[in-house]
């Protein structure tokens, strides 16, 4: 089906249109309990085991607001430079769907807890774009449907559906940007950078697992095109099911080229929800609705208004951790990094790991060197992200310590790291198991040097004649003979002493 979709060349799109973005991000909070009941808020679990009368919407049940979720919402709002409502309410969003136990979602409508903020987003080349935040509001997640049979995996055409309400009532914060115009050809990159920055921020706030693969961070991308000739706003589409940072970028780019092709052929963009397909990188329309959506919002009568006192808000402001951009500025200063180096570290996803390694006792330069060179190579070879390597910053710091103390050479250190990556245990355990240690017994080294000199008499003679650089060959031979466990500098000293 997607192969039939006409796409316009990207450069041509940019020539003719200005893309306008709008991003809606849903974040599942990792509070201990759900938004309106005492059930465990845990990912997974046997279906329908984290449920109670309230999150199952049983007749007579009532919601009670999770104070911790409100606290998290306010902290998120503050970190996004939002105003925090002095008084706000929950509202019911009414629509029928089997995975929503009450057939209404308890959400916020025209009275969000946080509004009018912004997030400064740094692009790959260092340019900073300010994304304005419309609002951040609290709501509850739905359950999950598993549609069995049928071609699409969607409810339509399925033979039957299984419902799991473990996720029903999990606290969500929906963060909505204002329209983001003027990003031009960088629109897809801006979309990805925004979600990345938001993810890092939420992680620093420690309010969510922010796992896009598990759905604890979900992005809906609104895209429209405004013709450069008229400047009129275009009709937008909302693309859902965008489950990775890379997909955010791809989905926006695809929609731009698709919408442009529709407009170019004289057609009109349909305002609709579209689904992103990870494998093809394309979007396809959701099921057509027969009637216009009317959610019949009204204030939730089962809950009382939320009126966070200014004292509480100020107190929460005080609990904000060092935010990602503040931290980057500090690290750049402390480690004396150029803008470019810092950006490379951020882009490589290495900053956290390096900082943690430094916290574990390594020097910044040493830590950086390990992560951006040897470990980066290893990640590349293994096809994983740096964070996916099975070695902790503390272990890296320990390896560095062993090198600095002279217990390991650099070569041995890499072998120790390999062992850790292979799951052989901690650096010390690997050193022990693999018998990695510097040969520091001079008599053993002297014996090896004598053997090497005897084996290469011509080289030995050159050294005796004062050609000191020739010593390298003998050192190399000794290192080989000792399987790299010797301290090369010491070997060199012995070679020179023997030939003097």
């Amino acid at each position: 089906m997607t192969s039939l979709v006409e796409l316009m060349d990207y450069d041509e799109v940019i020539e003719k249109y200005d893309p306008v973005l709008g991003l809606e991000v849903h974040v599942e909070l990792h509070t201990n309990t759900k938004m309106f009941c005492g059930c465990a808020n845990e990912f997974g679990g046997e279906p329908n085991t984290h449920t109670c009368p309230t999150c199952l919407g049983l007749p007579g049940s009532l919601p009670v607001v999770n104070g911790k979720a409100v606290e998290s919402a306010i902290r998120i709002g503050l970190a996004l430079n939002c105003e925090i409502a002095e008084w706000c309410r929950f509202a019911r969003k009414n629509y029928f769907y089997p995975d929503m136990p009450k057939n209404f979602q308890t959400s916020q409508y025209d009275e969000p807890i946080a509004f009018n903020g912004y997030l400064d987003v740094t692009l790959d080349d260092g340019e900073v774009i300010r994304v304005e935040i419309e609002r951040a509001h609290m709501e509850e997640d739905t359950g999950k449907s598993l549609h069995v049979g049928g071609a699409t995996g969607r409810i339509h055409g399925a033979e039957h559906s299984l419902l799991d309400y473990n996720r029903a009532g999990v606290p969500l914060i929906e963060i909505v940007t204002k329209m983001i115009p003027g990003t031009g050809e960088r629109a897809p990159e801006v979309a990805r950078a925004y979600v990345t920055a938001l993810r890092d921020l939420l992680k620093a706030l420690d309010v969510s697992d922010v796992r896009m693969d598990q759905g604890s961070l979900r992005c809906d991308a609104n895209v429209s095109l405004s013709p450069k000739t008229t400047g009129a706003l275009g009709t937008r589409t909302e693309t859902k099911n965008v489950n990775s940072l890379r997909s955010v970028e791809r989905a926006v780019r695809f929609e731009m080229t698709r919408q442009a092709a529709v407009l170019e052929s004289g057609g009109e963009v349909t305002q609709e929800t579209r689904h992103f397909d990870e494998s093809s990188g394309s979007t396809s329309p959701g099921r057509k609705k027969e009637t216009a959506e009317d959610y019949r919002y009204f204030p939730e009568p089962d809950l009382v208004p939320i009126a966070p006192s200014r004292e509480w808000v100020d107190e929460l402001r005080g609990t904000l951790p060092e935010l990602p951009w503040e931290r980057r500025a500090r690290i750049q200063k402390d480690w004396n990094l150029t803008d470019e180096v810092l950006r490379d570290l951020v882009n490589a996803g290495a900053l956290d790991l390096i900082e943690a390694t430094v916290v574990a006792g390594a020097k910044p330069d040493e830590a950086r060197s390990w992560w951006v060179s040897y470990l980066a190579q290893q990640a590349n070879t293994r096809g994983v992200e740096l964070t996916g390597l099975s070695i902790t910053p503390a272990e890296v710091a320990r390896v560095i310590e062993l090198v600095n103390s002279g217990a390991l050479t650099n070569k041995l250190a890499r072998e120790a790291v390999n062992g850790v990556l292979e799951g052989e245990g901690s650096p010390d355990e690997v050193v022990e198991k693999r018998g990695l240690k510097v040969v520091s017994d001079d008599s053993a080294l002297e014996k090896a040097v004598d053997e090497a000199l005897a084996a290469q008499p011509d080289v030995a003679q050159k050294i005796r004649d004062g050609k000191v650089q020739a010593a390298g060959a003998i050192v190399g031979a000794v290192m080989k003979a000792t399987k790299g466990q010797a301290d090369a500098a010491r070997v060199r000293e012995i070679v020179l002493a023997r030939c003097s």
Binding site: P59, G60, L62, R296, F298
Partner: protein, 494 residues
Amino acid sequence: MTNDLIHATAAELAAKIHSGEVTSVEVTQAHLDRIAETDGKVHAFLHVDAQGALAQARRVDEAVKAGEQVSPLAGVPLALKDVMTTEGVPTTVGSKILEGWLPPYDATVTRKLKEAGVVILGKTNMDEFAMGSSTENSAYGPTHNPWDLDRIPGGSGGGSSAALAALQAPLAIGTDTGGSIRQPGAVTGTVGVKPTYGGVSRYGLVAFSSSLDQAGPCARTVLDAALLHEVIAGYDHMDSTSINAPVPPVVAAAREGLNGDLSGLRVGVVTQFSGEGYQPGVARSFEAAVSQLKELGAEIADVSCPSFDYALPAYYLIAPSECSSNLARFDAMRYGLRVGDDGTRSTEEVMSLTREAGFGPEVKRRIMIGTYALSSGYYDAYYGSAQKVRTLITQDFAKAFENFDVLISPTTPTTAFKIGERANDPMAMYKADLCTIPANLAGTPAMSVPSGLSDEDGLPVGLQIMAPALQDHRMYRVAAAYEAARGSFGGPSL
């Protein structure tokens, strides 16, 4: 003996059971026998839980025998409106859509009753989802007024009030969204109290209109109602709208009222609730009650609450709006009725067929009205305006309570009408709640106490007493004083 037991008040029964004069099992059995004997005619109960009731009675008897301190109503039987969830015991809310559903949990009210040793005899009939003023809207057939079996027992809690009048139980629980405790109380000659909104937990009360629903006590005497009030009231962390304040001292107030002195009490007669549409016998009964209050020392004057005229229309926008959302969950997916699931139909079709078959006409009417009133483009004109009226009514109450300690009116404009008489005239039916609705909209407490029988038809009439929020005890004092002065007006013969 049995005859004495079913005529006795809850206070008397409690005293006898706690002193060991009778056992709770004897008292419970007497009421179960009475139900068996009379409910074929009255149909107050949807479900009688004899086994559960006798088990609870035995527990109380053992505790009494062991000399344990038991709570004031321990061992006394009670009829529970079928709107309250009861773990493992059917809860239908008078609807086919919940037929056969066994709740996995107890409502807070149910739990408190059980903990207090109250014996729950069973679940009483009601208008479907508490929508109605006659109990004719029950999917399981109407309840008959024990005073005249051809007449309605009021609604929605007609089952609870009829059970009291029929001597099937000395205590009952009702819920009042627009008068569903007070109006049945009035037309059956029993006492019915709607506490301050938030005074009694709504957890486990199957919602009709969340911002109006309030559970309360029903009894044959004011003191019994007060005793029950204190068992079920109090803050509940499971209900966000529950008030975190001490329970008003209603038992003490009822006892104080019994001394018959209301000197200096300022009583306002709401002028909006008289005149056209008020049955002459009801008006005369009300006048007699006013005279009696004067004799007790009360100072009586008229008070006008002009916005009360808009209470009924505002109510019929707010309540249906909330109900259209509250009842959305009955969709065949998780519990209750499921119609048309033959493997060929879509989820939407099964939902639609189930709701079509499971809800009665009045429920459908209100879901449609509410859905319309909340629709985009109509919200401000309907739901929004109704909320403004609500504010005005609250202000009228506040103004009136600056000059008066309590307000009074007839509870309902007429005595019990005939079954079927208003069944096809919703507007006539809705007018039964004309006087009771303002207190629901304002969240203030109100109660109905019998003011004797109407002289023209010999049917019971109710006096409504209204008080400011959290001053529930004020109306108990007045009601108890009046009740004592009024004296007995007899009872129905069955």
